[in-house]
Amino acid sequence: MDWYPLLNSLRIAAISTVVVYLLGIWLADVVARAPRVVKGILDVVLTLPLVLPPTVVGYLLLVLLGPRRPIGAWVMATFGVRLTMTWYSAIFATVVVSFPLMYRTARGAFESFDQSLADAGRTLGKSNAWVFWLVKMPACRQGIIAGSVLAFARALGEYGATSMVAGYTPGSTATVSTTVYQLWRTGEDGLAFQWVLVNLAISAVVLLAMNMLEARSRSARTREVAA
C-alpha cells in the first residue's frame, strides 16, 4: 500500500492547524472585544464557511486563486508559484473550512474570560502581550485546545473544497479522503476499505486524545479546589 496520501493529509492538516490556530485566536480576540454591530457582522462572515457547502468554498477559492484569476495570476507573475492543483493548494481549502471551528470555540472561551484578570495585569504594569499570552491564553486553554483538535480533525477529513482546488493526482495531491473516493470510483473496493479503516482509526485517536485532555484538566481543577 502506498502511504503517500496519509503523509500528505497529515502535513496538510498540521500546517493548516497552525495557520488556523493563529488566525482563529487573533480574530476571536478582536471579535470578543468589538462593539456590538461590528461583532455581529464579523461573526457572520467568519462563521460562514461552517455552513457553506465545501463545493461553494472550493468554487470561491478557484475564482480567487486560479492561474488566470486576480490573486493567482499575481502570485504566478511575481513568484512563479502556482496556487491551485498542487499538494499545498489543499491547505487553502482546509484553512477556510476548519477556521470557524477554531474561531468559535476560542471566542466562546475569550467571552467567558474574567476581564478583571487582564485589568489586574495591566495595573501591575504588565504589557498587553504579557497579559494575553501568560494570563488570558492559559485561562482559556481548554477552549483553545478543543478548537485546535477539532480544526485538525476537520482539516484531515476535508474532501469537497480540496478536490476542487487541488484535484486528485496520485503521489502529488492525493489525500486520504480523495483517495477513498478515487478508489471507489475505479472499483478497487478492497483498497478503498483499507483507507476507510485508516480514516476511522485517525478520527478515533483524535477524539480519544481530546477526551483525555478534557478529563485531565477537569481532574486537575477538582484537585485544586479540593486541596
Binding site: D114, A120, T123, V135, A227
Partner: protein, 369 residues
C-alpha cells in the same frame, strides 16, 4: 501638594457620572460611599485607566494621569495605581509566588524575586508560595492580592468592595488585617463600599456618591454626626427623612410628618428635607403635658417589630409618613406597650438636609423612612 485630584465625567447610556474629589493628606484613606450602581466602581476604573472618562482631569502626586483638554491618557501600566478587585483577580494558572512576582518592582529578576518574597512574608503567606489561588482560603486570597499590589510599589491603592465576597466572622478578621495593611501603606487609598460601618471604621474621609454625582468630601465622623445632603443622610443610616422647608429662624416645617420642628443646626438656604435618626428620639407617654415640650410629635403606634438587639416601633405621625423609632428592648418593655406615644426630637438631632441634584434618588424622600 495634592496627592490625588479627580474631576471627571463619563456618560454610559442613560447613566452619567460626574465625580470630583481630592485626597490631600499623605496617608489618607478616602471612602467612596454609595448604593450599588451609583458609579463607584466606574470611578475607580477611570482612575486606574481601565475605563476612559469622557472629559476631566486625574492628577496623582503631580503626574497627570488623564487630561481630556491636554489629550493625556496614560495607560494603566504607567499609572502606578494598585487595584484590589472585588474578586481579587489572582491569576488562576499561576502560583502565589508567580502572582506576587508578576507585578514586583525591581530591575533584575533577582530583585523582583526578593521583593516578592518580602511581601509574601509580610502578608503571612510563607509556605503557600507554590499553591494555586484556588487552593487558598478567602482571606489568604485577599492577602495574596494585597502582596501582589504592594510588591508593585504603587503610589495609590484602590479597593473595590474588598469584603463583599465574605461574610460574618471571617469578614471582621479580614477587616482588621486589611486596616493594618492600609495604615502601613505610605500612599493614599480610595476605598469603595456601600457599607457605612466598614467605612466608619476603616476610612478617614468620605465622599458620598449618589446616582453618579459626588457630594463634597467630609470627615467620616462629620458624615455620621451631621450629614449635609439627603443622600449622605440615607447612606449614613438615617431612617427618617421628610420633605421640609424653612419656617422661620431655626424652624423646619416637615411636610411628611405634619409638624414643625426646631433645629439647633445651621439651616442652609436651599434646605429640602429634614432627617432624624431612629434611635435619637426621646419618648413621653401620651398622658404627659406634651405641649410644654419642644419638638414633641404626637404619634400612634402602628407596628412594633422585635429585632435582634432592639425594638423597632413604627409610629404614625400627624402627617402622611410614619416615623421609625428604635430603642433597647428593656426600655420599650418599661413603657408598657402603649397605643399612643409622644416622640421628642431634641433640636440637636433634627438635621436640615439638601437634596443634591434634581430627580433621581430619594426624591420620593419620605417613603425611605
Amino acid at each position: 501638594m495634592t496627592a490625588l485630584e479627580v474631576d471627571i465625567t463619563k456618560r454610559l447610556g442613560s447613566f452619567s457620572l460626574g465625580v470630583s474629589f481630592a485626597i490631600e493628606q499623605p496617608r489618607e484613606i478616602m471612602a467612596l460611599l454609595g448604593p450599588s450602581g451609583c458609579g463607584k466602581s466606574m470611578t475607580l476604573k477611570c482612575i486606574a485607566g481601565i475605563e476612559r472618562p469622557d472629559s476631566g482631569r486625574i492628577v496623582l502626586d503631580g503626574r497627570t494621569l488623564f487630561d481630556s483638554a491636554a489629550r493625556i491618557d496614560l495607560p494603566p501600566q504607567q499609572r502606578r495605581v494598585g487595584y484590589l478587585f472585588q474578586s481579587y483577580a489572582l491569576f488562576p494558572t499561576m502560583t502565589v509566588e508567580q502572582n506576587v512576582q508578576a507585578g514586583a518592582a525591581g530591575s533584575t529578576r533577582k530583585e523582583r524575586a526578593a521583593r516578592a518574597a518580602k511581601e509574601i512574608a509580610a502578608m503571612r503567606l510563607e509556605g503557600l508560595e507554590h499553591h494555586k489561588p484556588a487552593q487558598l482560603s478567602g482571606g489568604q486570597q485577599q492577602r495574596c492580592a494585597m502582596a501582589r499590589i504592594l510588591a508593585s510599589d504603587p503610589e495609590l491603592i484602590l479597593l473595590d468592595e474588598p469584603f463583599s465576597a465574605l461574610d460574618g466572622y471571617l469578614r471582621w478578621q479580614l477587616e482588621l488585617e486589611l486596616s493594618d495593611v492600609l495604615r502601613g501603606f505610605p500612599g493614599g487609598a480610595v476605598y469603595v463600599s456601600h457599607n457605612r460601618d466598614e467605612v466608619y471604621r476603616m476610612c478617614d474621609t468620605v465622599c458620598v456618591l449618589d446616582h453618579g454625582h459626588s457630594d463634597a468630601k467630609v470627615g467620616v465622623r462629620e458624615l455620621f454626626a451631621a450629614p449635609a445632603t439627603l443622600a449622605a443622610a440615607l447612606i449614613s443610616g438615617c431612617k427618617n427623612v421628610s420633605r421640609a422647608h424653612a419656617a422661620g429662624p431655626g424652624l423646619l416645617a416637615c411636610e411628611d410628618w405634619g409638624v414643625t420642628l426646631r433645629t439647633s443646626l445651621p439651616v442652609p438656604a436651599g434646605v429640602t428635607h429634614a432627617g432624624i435618626r431612629a434611635h435619637y428620639f426621646e419618648t413621653h407617654g401620651a398622658d404627659d403635658a406634651s405641649d410644654a415640650v419642644e419638638n414633641a410629635i404626637p404619634c400612634t403606634v402602628e407596628r412594633v417589630i422585635d429585632s435582634t438587639f432592639s425594638t423597632i416601633v413604627m409610629a404614625r405621625t400627624p402627617g402622611s409618613t410614619p416615623l421609625r423609632y428604635e430603642c433597647e428592648k428593656d426600655d420599650w418593655a418599661a413603657l408598657g406597650n402603649p397605643a399612643r406615644l409622644v416622640l421628642v426630637a431634641p433640636p440637636a438631632t433634627v438635621m436640615p438636609l439638601v437634596s443634591s441634584g434634581n430627580g433621581g434618588a430619594g426624591r420620593e424622600g419620605a417613603s425611605h423612612a
